[in-house]
């Protein structure tokens, strides 16, 4: 007896496709301790590498004595720049058009720079041996302030660039100058200011912070001297690009280099770049002909892998007396450390910073960013943001608040007056971005209603009127637009490789499927969400769709996972690969049902003959036919590959509101409420989206309320362990309320825009907005992060309001 066919709705639920809060496929291994991270890798004959690092920030290497270390039992080699020179591997290109020392070449440029490596039988011996390597330094004057670095007599940081007047991004004005990058129209912006009824300006500093994923960086490199093959397991967000760079550096043909990113314990941009440690482990494996493992410790991670931010920003707005913004000017001095190693698309030395006009219809704008060398760690990663969007959003949101304060207009109202309106999309900003879609006013009103904004303002007014109130109340409001989905190859590339992404789908004869991707998850749940896209496109249950990533020997070439690009770019590649399969499947179904393709309808998981529900072929039926007896003249099999080069970025947006209470006696801040509305277009898995938002908000909370990387004048990093560097625990992390609207991207095959960074980008200025709001009645327009209790207490004291 045939079982009755479930109706379409039941079948759709069984698919667990797009829109379903499907539980994650990847969890089974993680909750049973069967994750497979780089440090879990073991290989026969594997040796361990450790790194000798510079204790000073700037100095000449006078002498390195390896003898004592080499004499230790279990030590196989000690290598310095001198050993790497014959291989031409002592310097390497950075992602930003600069070069960086792999091992310090005669000079150290920042504290904890890599000076030598030791390879030993186990990690304990290696750790003993690095202590035995004697390095003699001649100290040089240290430059830590980027403004001082640009003074005429400032010490020369990069002697290797002596006399070089052209940088990767134009003329160099000074020996510590990297680039000056201009965007927008200066003349138009200047004219707007000349004619303005009102202008405001504000200086602000976005401090240097560290992404600090819980898993540090590391790799296991294994060179086979007989076959000439190199296999490297690596903590990388972009394994294909790593393979290309490793091949270019080593001379090993790319086809003989295999890079595998296994499970990755968080990335947040920290694992995009190529660090000296990776290169050293690979070199050591080539030199010794044995597998070599390197895993950095937490101090090394915080002090030597890529930091983020460190932007000194001046913003200016021109406006009419009723608050309509007519012009924006921005000047930034960006501290990029000792080597320009920012992870930005090649043509954008300041990344996507020109989203700095935000969600507002600003007719004239100009931004100028100056990159500067100092004796700090290089890096400048896009930490949970799309290439410097965090800084841009912070600046414009602060400036709009400053203007609102000057004009005594409510911060919600001034945003209403300046929003790009729904009917203006697609909207081209003064910086040349074409925003794809958006509906800011609807989202704003939804948030204001949800939190009873009027009621909050009334409560605040009552508190301000009460001289005995123990707290200052602040309301932060941010209305941001992100730019993600990097990016269109015509404008975005990394080292000359276009920023497309890719998917290959194979349907097996029995109707299950495998998809291989150019991206790599670091916790975003790709195995689940990607399968859901395929489930919806092809009518195959998510349960039987396998998603594989991270192995360059099997996955199609892709630029990886960072900048919230997985769903906007790779998600589109999946949909389009699936549609190629769908088109072929339809031909096969028509052949099987002996009708024309035009006579078929698609319903959830099957092709049906129009007008006759009893005549249909499921995707599983078609798959079997494709391998068993395809129509005459048709190639057997059911698979497709798609390389997706996006026509444009996507522009998710959000409206965030925070309510804080600041203790007047201690400066401690309680986050009473945080309401986050995000619009990331089509939502694939709401459970996963909410999880990503929670995570991003928590990292934003950490940056705004506690994180900093303080250096002393000698270039010592004061605090490079988790004892000093603030990662919030459950106790201080606020409760998050999430909400959404849905405005699909018109140019994306499924309308999805990407979400994971939005909460980070949007929340940080929201916290500052709330803190400053608590002081705004005292004439305070801005307070720099981090808003820890001491700094806030000082602000209370400075304004005469502490108890």
């Amino acid at each position: 007896m045939n079982a009755p066919v479930p109706n379409a709705e039941a079948r759709e639920i069984a698919l667990a496709g797009m829109g379903a809060s499907r539980l994650r496929k990847e969890d089974a291994r993680f909750i049973q301790g069967k994750g497979n991270y780089v440090d879990d890798m073991k290989m026969p004959g594997m040796l361990h590498m450790d790194i000798v690092r510079s204790p000073i920030a700037h100095g000449r290497i006078v002498k390195i004595n390896k003898e004592a270390a080499l004499a230790m039992p279990g030590v196989h080699a000690v290598l310095t720049a001198e050993d790497l020179k014959p291989l031409k591997l002592h310097w390497m290109p950075t992602l930003a058009g600069d070069v960086a020392a792999v091992l310090a070449d005669e000079k150290v440029h920042f504290q904890m720079q890599e000076v030598a490596i030791v390879i030993a039988d186990d990690r304990y011996i290696a750790a003993d041996a690095i202590e035995a390597v004697e390095v003699e330094y001649e100290e040089l004057p240290v430059v830590m302030d980027p403004y001082e670095a640009l003074q005429p007599g400032a010490p020369v940081i990069r002697e290797d660039l002596a006399g070089k007047t052209e940088g990767a991004h134009g003329a160099r004005e000074h020996h510590n100058h990297i680039f000056t990058w201009d965007a927008g129209n200066k003349a138009a912006a200047d004219a707007a200011f000349d004619n303005a009824e009102v202008t405001v300006s504000q200086h602000m500093y976005y401090p240097r912070v560290h992404p600090c994923p819980l898993e540090t960086c590391g790799c296991v490199a294994s060179f086979d001297p007989i076959k000439g093959d190199l296999t490297t397991y690596i903590t990388s967000q972009a394994p294909h690009v790593v393979r290309t760079v490793v091949s270019m550096l080593s001379g090993i043909p790319e086809s003989k280099v295999r890079i595998v990113s296994p499970d990755i314990g968080g990335g947040f941009g920290n694992k995009v770049g190529i660090y000296p440690g990776y290169v050293c482990a690979i070199v050591a494996s080539i030199v010794l002909g044995r597998p070599v493992k390197w895993v950095e410790d937490r101090m090394e991670n915080i002090s030597s892998t890529a930091f983020a931010r460190d932007y000194h920003m001046d913003g200016e707005l021109a406006a009419t007396a009723d608050g309509k913004i007519t012009g924006l000017r921005v000047n930034v001095v960006a501290d990029h450390g000792a080597f320009d190693a920012c992870a930005d698309p090649t043509k954008f030395p300041a990344g996507m910073f020109h989203i700095v006009s935000g969600s507002y219809d600003i007719p004239a704008a100009h931004a100028s960013v100056k990159g500067v060398y100092t004796n700090k760690t290089p890096g400048g990663v896009a930490y949970r943001c799309s290439f410097r969007v965090t800084e841009a959003v912070y600046l414009i949101e602060r400036m709009v608040d400053v203007l609102a304060q000057k004009l005594n207009i409510d911060k919600a109202e001034i945003r209403r007056r300046n929003f790009i309106q729904k009917e203006q999309f697609p909207y081209t900003s003064a910086f040349g971005f074409e925003y794809d879609s958006g509906d800011y006013p609807t989202a704003l009103e939804k948030v204001l209603d949800a939190v009873d904004y009027k009621g909050l303002r009334a409560e605040q007014a009552a508190k301000r009127a009460d001289p005995n109130s123990p707290t200052l109340m602040g309301i932060g409001l941010v209305t941001f637009t992100e730019v993600v989905g990097a990016g269109p190859s015509k404008i975005c590339d990394i080292l000359g490789v276009g920023m497309f992404d890719s998917c290959e789908i194979r349907i097996h004869p029995t109707g299950s499927a495998i998809a291989r991707m150019g991206t790599i998850t670091q916790g975003q749940g790709h195995q689940t969400t990607y399968a859901q896209i395929i489930a919806t496109e092809l009518g195959i249950e998510s349960e039987v769709i396998q998603v594989e990533e991270g192995d360059t020997s099997t996955a199609p070439y892709g630029l990886g996972t960072y900048g919230s690009r997985s769903t906007p770019v790779a998600g589109a590649a999946i949909a389009l690969a699936a549609r190629k399969i769908h088109a072929k499947a339809k031909k096969i179904a028509a052949h099987m049902l002996e009708v024309n393709e035009a006579d078929l309808d698609w319903e959830v998981d099957r092709f049906k003959v129009k007008g006759d529900d009893s005549k249909f072929k499921t995707m599983a039926d078609v798959a079997w036919q494709a391998y068993h007896q395809p129509p005459e003249g048709m190639e057997p099999g059911l698979e497709a590959v798609h390389y997706y080069d996006p026509p444009n970025f996507t522009f998710p947006f959000g409206i965030y509101l925070a309510v804080v209470d600041i203790d007047r006696g201690t400066g401690e801040t309680k986050i009473r409420r945080f309401y986050a509305l995000d619009d990331c277009g089509t939502r694939i898995n709401p459970m996963i989206i909410d999880g990503q938002i929670h995570g991003g908000l928590t990292e934003g909370f950490a940056v705004a309320m506690g994180q900093q990387m303080p250096y002393d004048a000698q270039g010592n990093l004061l605090g490079n362990t988790l004892m000093d560097y603030f990662l919030p625990t459950m106790v201080e992390t606020p409760h998050w309320e999430t909400d959404h609207t849905v405005t699909p991207s018109p140019h994306h095959p499924i309308g999805a825009k990407g979400v994971a960074e939005s909460p980070h980008v949007g929340s940080i200025p929201t916290f500052t907005s709330a803190i400053v709001d608590a002081f705004s009645h005292l004439g305070v327009t801005h307070l720099d992060m981090p808003h820890n209790a001491l700094r806030t207490w000082k602000a209370l004291k400075a304004n005469g309001v502490n108890l």
């Binding site: 089974a28 600090c212 990755i264 362990t721």
Partner: protein
Amino acid sequence: MSKKLITVTINGKKEERAVEPRTLLVHFLREDLNLTGAHIGCETSHCGACTVDVDGESVKACTHLAVQCDGSEVLTVEGLADKGVLHAVQEGFYKEHGLQCGFCTPGMLMRAYRFLQENSNPTEDEIRHGMSGNLCRCTGYQNIIKSVQYAAKKLQEPVTA
């Protein structure tokens, strides 16, 4: 360095090994016994990714010596499920989306396992404090709290045959 013979019961199985006195418990588990569930995140006891259970207490294995465990009973994430049936805390983390990258998860689970024996019916505030020795960078904690609440509820249900 001379080695010392230790006997440790790990996930119910007796293991006898010679270790250097300076060997950290987390390295002993990961390198000598191939139990890679406990992870190394900070080496200073702050992140809790290496949390395991030693003689009925949560211990951070990155600052605990293997020789300190001579004669002890150690439970790691690999021993949490019983004959293939997930423990309530494992089920809770799965059902409530209490993890993303999974790196902190084994430590979180082991702490939750012990915490719920210390306090079987905790309030949200008690969970926040009881679990505050474990850091997570991906989840924002809200779902971890829900995961622990799920497990607490499940553990209080009467056992059915």
